[in-house]
């Protein structure tokens, strides 16, 4: 087992496109790190660089103590689970798992032992003679996992492994991956665009945007204190409400555009006296009486999910009207056209510099 | 379309393409360029001296009435062969697509002449039309027509057209049937609900959707009629009587191998090359456009 380290890693494609703008980070031995970001942010490229499927333009990638930039994928002692599983369609499940071991000249009985063990862990015992074409999506996913496990690698690399499964199976497999990784204690790097997957699986998260790691941290740290507007908007569902405004003259609060009263939560001193961006998550708005309210919202649409309801509305006196989403208890009935008076949980207001998008602290 | 992952060895790929490239260079590119070069030369009868004459061979070729005749005959032959075999094949395929039972059996029974060599196909029809013992010649005589492809140029031409078409129907049938079966049933059903009768349906819905296949086949059939039919002519009529079945490929062969006119034969080769290249380019441009369709 070993950790993983990125030192000033950059990637520039031959056509001049810069995919990765310099990543520095260390993954501890046995840690589960999820790289999350929108499509095209460079997360898959980063993973493929670790696998050795893409060259590193600049910087260094280390697995354990060793620089691996120049090593062939097979020599890096990693295993990868692909989005489409990439199972060899003409080989049985057993052969799919054994192929890499055979290429490494692992003794025959050792191969049999490891495959049997992995098959046991993944409940694939009855399927070893089948071809991938005869398996369901979930079973194929397990075989792909099995192929990774039998290698007993230094690190697992997952490239959106659950995105081809239906919603129910995805939740189930997510739990299984987490359990398996705990049991094996293998360092894992996991790429996804799904922030729920990211939050639930990760020991630590890397939120990437346009080739840059916007924030690295534990999931709840990132949720509680997003470092940038991008991270704030990307992590958390439904997304955080962003309301532009101006810092009040005495610095004791913020005047939100389209709201006729001052939000009485003091921005950090570094905010100065100019424009500011205020972020409030839908779950941190609470209906109160008119007098106590920080803002009023005209309800446009209600999505009742049962346990809670998502209310989409517009600031009541907002002119053009800034959109606001509120998460309410499912028991509460709200109708379109109704005006909601909302208070804000003071510890959960985020302030950002509107120019560079950075969190103000 | 390109693959993302590639192996980064250098010597291996060159080794892998080498056989194909070497054979292509030695047996295709080099001879073709020889033909191109020789088409610009005039050699004396003994092949001892040659003289560079620029396009004289081509000028001679296109002012030779025999060559122009042969060109015209080839066009007639190709058009007739392509027309006949495409028409019959389309008709049969439309019928086979209609019958639910036995379509596969019909396919098997119609498709096998594809495997018959053009030369053999020629010999079979040559035999059936043999003026003294042939079954079909006898039948025609009974109907009042005196068939003799040894003497009558038109009869000879009909013979090679029939033999060439008979063999080619199988190929066209296969593609038309595949094309017809690929047309979504729901489309035909929608047309039926819109009130189109079978015949109308065929011309307004099915045939337009089949047109890429038809176009592809047209080009293939012209190429077939131009080049692959050499065996039919050579094995049966030998270009006769009185050159009435001397199509261009046969003429290249006979002028070069029997007449030993190197420059003239080379010039003919170059003209034929131009024909194939035109057809191929045409086909590929069309296929590119088809992708958008």
């Amino acid at each position: 087992m070993a950790g993983l380290e990125f030192i000033g890693v950059r990637k520039t494609y031959p056509n001049g496109v810069q995919a990765i703008h310099g990543i520095d980070m260390a993954v501890a031995d046995g840690e589960f790190v999820v790289i999350v970001g929108p499509s095209g942010c460079g997360k898959s490229t980063l993973l493929r660089m670790v696998a050795g499927l893409e060259t590193v333009t600049e910087g260094e990638i280390r697995i354990g103590e060793n620089r691996v930039n120049e090593l062939e994928p097979a020599d890096r002692n990693i295993a990868m689970v692909f989005q489409n599983y990439a199972l060899y369609p003409h080989m049985s499940v057993f052969d799919n798992m054994a192929y890499g071991l055979r290429n490494r000249r692992t003794p025959r009985d050792e191969i049999a032992r490891r495959v049997a063990e992995a098959a046991g862990t993944l409940q694939l015992e009855g399927l070893l003679d089948r071809r991938p074409g005869q398996l369901s999506g979930g079973q194929r996913q397990r075989v792909a996992m099995g192929r990774a496990i039998v290698r007993e690698p230094e690190a697992f690399l997952f490239d959106e492994p659950l995105s081809n499964l239906d919603a129910k199976l995805r939740v189930q497999m997510r739990l299984e991956i987490k359990r398996l990784q705990r049991a094996l204690g293998t360092t894992s790097l996991y790429v996804t665009h799904d922030q729920v997957e990211a939050m639930t699986l990760a020991d630590r998260l890397i939120v990437m945007n346009a080739g840059v790691a916007e924030q690295v941290g534990r999931p709840l740290e990132i949720y509680d204190a997003p470092a940038t507007l991008f991270v704030a908007g990307f992590i958390g569902s439904p997304a955080m409400n962003f309301l532009p405004g101006t810092v009040a003259d005495d610095g004791s609060g913020a005047n939100l555009d389209g709201v006729d009263r001052t939000l009485l939560v003091a921005p950090p001193a570094s905010a100065g006296r100019g424009r500011i961006m205020v972020g409030i998550r839908p779950e941190h708005l609470e209906p109160v009486s008119r007098e106590e309210a920080a803002m009023e919202v005209v309800v446009e649409l209600v999505e009742a999910l049962g346990a809670d309801s998502l209310v989409h509305g517009l600031l009541a006196d907002g002119g053009e009207g800034a959109a606001v989403t509120v998460r309410l208890d499912g028991a509460r009935r709200v109708a379109a056209g109704e005006v909601l008076s909302l208070a804000v949980a003071p510890n959960h207001v985020h302030f950002f510099d509107p120019d560079d998008g950075k969190r103000l602290a | 379309m390109e693959k993302r992952v590639v192996f980064s060895k250098l010597g291996l790929p060159i080794l892998l393409v080498a056989p194909q490239i070497v054979i292509t260079l030695v047996f295709f590119i080099w001879p073709a360029s020889q033909a191109l070069y020789q088409s610009l030369l005039l050699e004396d009868a003994f092949g001892l001296r040659s003289q560079f004459v620029w396009l004289d061979n081509f000028i001679a070729l296109f002012s030779d009435p025999h060559y122009l005749d042969s060109f015209a005959r080839t066009v007639v032959f190709s058009a007739a062969t392509a027309g006949l075999s495409l028409g019959v094949a389309l008709f049969l395929a439309a019928m086979a697509d209609r019958v639910l039972k036995g379509a596969t059996a019909y396919r098997t029974l119609i498709v096998w002449p594809y495997a018959v060599a053009p030369a053999v196909a020629g010999v079979l029809w040559f035999f059936m039309f043999n003026p003294s013992i042939g079954v079909l010649a006898y039948l025609l005589k009974w109907l009042g027509y005196d068939w003799n492809h040894y003497l009558d140029g038109t009869d000879a031409m009909m013979l090679v057209i029939l033999a060439a078409s008979w063999k080619q129907v199988s190929y066209n049938f296969l593609f038309f049937l595949a094309g017809l079966q690929a047309i979504p049933r729901s489309l035909v059903e929608a047309a039926a609900i819109d009130g189109a009768r079978p015949f109308k349906r065929f011309w307004t819905i099915i045939f337009p959707l089949l047109s890429p296949t038809a176009f592809f086949l047209l080009v293939v059939n012209i190429v077939y009629a131009f080049f692959d039919t050499f065996g039919i002519v050579h094995a049966t009529t030998s270009g006769g009587p009185a050159q009435s079945t001397t199509i261009l490929v046969y003429k290249v062969f006979s002028d070069g191998f029997i007449g030993l006119d190197l420059g003239g034969s080379a010039a003919q080769s170059v003209v034929l090359m131009a024909v194939v290249i035109t057809l191929t380019v045409f086909q590929f441009r069309y296929i590119e456009r088809k992708v958008a369709y």
Binding site: N84, L87 | P13, Q20, T24, V120, F127, I133, F227, H234
Partner: protein
Amino acid sequence: MVENRPWLTVFSHVVLCLGVLVTALPIWIAFVASTHPADSMLSGRTPLLPGGHMIENYATVLGSGVRAAGSIPVGTMLWNSFVMALMIAVGKIAISIIAAYAIVYFRFPLRRTCFWVIFITLMLPVEVRILPTFGVVASLGMLNSYWGLSVPLIASATATFLFRQFFLTVPEELAEAARIDGAGPFKFFRDILLPLSRTNIAALFVILFIFGWNQYLWPLLVTTDEGYYTIVMGIQRMLQAEDAEPAWHEIMATSMLAMLPPVLVVVFMQRLFVKGLIEQEK
């Protein structure tokens, strides 16, 4: 079909049966002729029902050949055709698949040039370069040999494109997974790509075997030694008999034998054959 029109269905069947009959007619006549003795042919017209000389006629052509064609036993010609067809089919597949592999999975200098050189062969059928190609083969001393019969015909753009097309549809992740599993270019080709290409190879083999078997002009040029005659061109030699009337019963027996192997291949491997043909369109 969509609505029920019995008369149209009957009509379709009638047309198709007629098509089948016309298709089969030449073969039936040839078969009938091949079962009669020489004199029943000279009596004026061909009989329409088989005669009783089938075994004699076939035994004669197979064993001792037809006088007019230099008495080469048809058995020898069949063997020559078989060897030539096999060499062409196997050769074409072998060199095409490795060339396609190189072009799809590697980046190397002159890659595009190679692609175009192969592409050009599409535009240069034997028929348009008869004399100079003959010259090359003659100067390489390949006349009257199996090599001379097959090698000049085994460069094929269509087969290369077919494999290229197929390789491009193989998911890239498969090659990546194989790399992670420690398979180099050779192992990847042998363990993954080749097994995946099985049906394509088989389909192509059927087409190319027929293509090779039916070659006519090329064997005509490069064989002067009767021992290398192939059956398809051998028939022509029999027709060019010096005496007035060809020996039709023997020629037809030979024609039947010449058709039999490729026709059997088409009928019994129809699925593969259809696949092979249709894929060429793409």
